[in-house]
């Protein structure tokens, strides 16, 4: 990697930012129904009569924005958790954090009926609370051994937490009525079927708080790669940095899951692809992964919407089909 670092950081923002913007501009134009941009932006046609504008602004654009937010959030959470736990196989999905957020969201959807699936911000808050609960479990586990969890222990803990939370999710579903169940099952697959801007706006406050943490964290994350003691000897307040990292990872996972359900594997595929491209320095990796995550999930969603058109698959199926084999490859490469 060539220096100076400042230029690398700016190039990262410019390059990966352009990629994310391009994905967000192109994605709404792709779909089963061709859309004429000229007609969509034609102010002389009233919105109620302008089918092109309706498809673009009501069906596709919110979905694209939600995809960008979910992808960015999960990728960033993956980077933070991997650095924090010194483990390349950590991610919101593998650690059970996504499942915790999903459980929180399910509880809110099922037992706070007036809010419903689009009801806000109850779902967002509950989702964040669920993510925080799952992260607390990981935090306690990681705290037991200061040198970081071994891959085996971490994966077993993640599998166990996932299974436990999935059972609770099934239990909640059991009490839900039929119409709710159909929607929540689809949502649990990781679906970006967002047809209003309300959930996106509701997720924004969580994301903004997390962004501040992400700007402050990367140096501590770099030193964590050497070990917590090393970080302390370099002037980092380790317990505080760990708390900020766990908390911000919970915030973004909660926001992502409240929007798109527990979309799997984004938090593990994207950070590794990005590290292959830009190196290991988290001041470059974190922004790059955040922007690349947005582009990645928006692209996956385009595939999900078009591959079996006119059927629209939940995007979680696509990311799992890509991410599962990738995860196995990573696991085998580790040995």
């Amino acid at each position: 990697m060539s220096f100076p670092l400042r230029r690398r950081v700016w190039l990262t923002f410019a390059g990966f930012g352009a990629l994310a913007v391009a994905a967000c501009v192109v994605a709404p134009l792709v779909g089963t129904t061709p859309v004429s941009l000229g007609r969509a932006f034609d102010r002389s046609i009233p919105f109620e009569a302008n089918v092109d504008a309706q498809i673009l602004f009501v069906a596709r654009l919110p979905r694209t924005l939600a995809g960008a937010i979910v992808g960015a959030a999960l990728a960033a959470a993956g980077v933070v958790l991997q650095a924090l736990l010194r483990n390349p196989l950590a991610s919101p999905f593998t650690l059970g954090v996504s499942a915790g957020a999903a459980l929180g969201a399910m509880l809110a959807i099922t037992f706070i009926p007036p809010l419903g699936l689009a009801g806000l911000p109850g779902v967002t808050v509950a989702s964040f609370a669920g993510a925080l609960g799952a992260v607390a479990v990981v935090y306690l586990l990681a705290g037991v051994r200061h040198r970081g969890l071994s891959t085996d222990v971490l994966l077993l803990a993640g599998v166990t937490l996932n299974a436990f939370l999935s059972a609770l999710i099934l239990l909640v579903q059991y009490f839900a009525d039929f119409s709710q169940t159909v929607r929540t099952v689809r949502w649990l697959m990781g679906d970006l079927d967002v047809s209003s801007y309300l959930p996106i706006v509701a997720a924004l406050p969580l994301l903004l708080v997390a962004l501040v943490a992400f700007a402050w964290l990367p140096r501590a994350l770099n030193l964590f790669a050497l070990g917590a003691e090393h970080a302390a000897a370099r002037g980092i307040d380790v317990p505080r940095a760990q708390r900020v990292a766990f908390f911000s990872a919970s915030l973004v996972t909660g926001a992502a899951v409240s929007l798109g359900g527990p979309v799997g594997f984004v938090g593990i595929v994207v950070p590794h692809l990005v590290r292959l491209m830009v190196g290991a320095d988290h001041r470059v990796v974190l922004p790059a992964a955040t922007l690349f995550g947005a582009a990645f999930l928006v692209s996956c969603d385009v595939i999900a919407r078009t591959v079996l058109a006119p059927m629209e698959l939940p995007v979680g199926i696509i990311t799992a089909l890509i991410g599962g084999p990738f995860f196995l490859w990573l696991l085998l490469r580790q040995r």
Binding site: F224, E229, G235, R275
Partner: protein
């Protein structure tokens, strides 16, 4: 420069350090010698302010290290751990630049002067030709030299960056090394010994190191502190402390301690084990 007095520390019920005192003068190289489990590494971590003792204090130029803000302390005192395992693939230069973090503001990135300092530090340890290599591809000795370079970069003050009276290293800087040669073969041991002596001679750098290698200690240290079961058995200049009785007390091993005619250094030649009963009788 660094004074520890009456340090007491236990993990749970097990006492690790019992009333340990240590005095490190400026420009000194102090070796903490002792068998495995004697509390060497724990003492080093206490000296570095990474671990707070339950009794006693560590003073850096008269100031309790626990009261010095971490970032300021890190500009004067650097630690080289025994082994470094990376979770991700950093380059050699990136590792050296991490030494500059205590000198940066909360959101600041390293500037050209920091890169210069990091490269000078790599030059000093002979690792500059490897600056773009991935750290994980290096040998144990090379890794050790990179980590030492990062510590040097950490202790270097930067004329272009002054933030007040506490900045820089007005009282000189201190390098703490934990078992610097434990994982190295003879070739790299000699190289690291040479590096330690050179840094001390050329830059007047004060150093404290732990080791269980008597000959290594005799070859680089000015003063020794012998640690057994969390207590200091003896402390003082190498010539006065290191003798057959000390080796026996520390390790339960009979040894010849002689002056090597060529180098003038003390060398320790282990002869055999001391009968535990005899040993106990002598200690009584």
């Amino acid at each position: 420069m660094l004074q520890a007095a009456d340090i007491g520390l236990s993990y749970g019920d097990a006492p690790v350090l019992r009333g340990v005192g240590l005095d490190v003068a400026r420009g000194d190289i102090v070796g903490i010698l002792g068998p495995n489990g004697s509390g060497k590494t724990t003492l080093l971590r206490v000296l570095a302010g990474m671990l707070r003792p339950q009794a006693g204090r560590v003073l850096l130029d008269g100031r309790d290290v626990a009261s010095i803000p971490r970032q300021l302390l890190a500009r004067r005192l650097a630690v080289v751990p025994q082994e470094v395992h990376l979770a991700f693939d950093y380059t050699v230069l990136e590792i050296a630049l991490m030494g500059r973090y205590p000198h940066l503001g909360a959101f600041e990135l390293e500037g050209p002067s920091d890169v210069e300092i990091a490269r000078e530090a790599l030059e000093a340890t002979g690792m500059l030709p490897f600056e773009h290599r991935a750290f994980d591809t290096l040998s144990g000795g090379e890794k050790q030299r990179v980590v030492i370079a990062a510590a040097l970069a950490q202790l270097a003050s930067d004329a272009s960056r002054t933030r007040g009276p506490d900045d820089g290293a007005p009282g000189g800087s201190l390098l703490l090394l934990d078992e610097p040669t434990a994982a190295l073969d003879l070739h790299y041991q000699i190289e690291v010994s040479g590096l330690i002596r050179r840094l001390n001679a050329d830059r007047g750098m004060t150093m404290v190191l732990t080791t269980h290698d008597l000959n290594f200690a005799a070859s680089v240290c000015h003063h020794l502190a012998l640690l057994r079961e969390g207590r200091v058995l003896a402390a003082g200049p190498v010539d006065q402390v290191l003798d057959a009785a000390a080796v026996e007390a520390l390790y339960g091993v009979r040894a010849d301690v002689q002056r090597h005619s060529g180098s003038g250094r003390l060398v320790v030649v282990p002869i055999g084990r001391v009968d535990p009963e005899v040993r106990r009788a002598r200690q009584a």
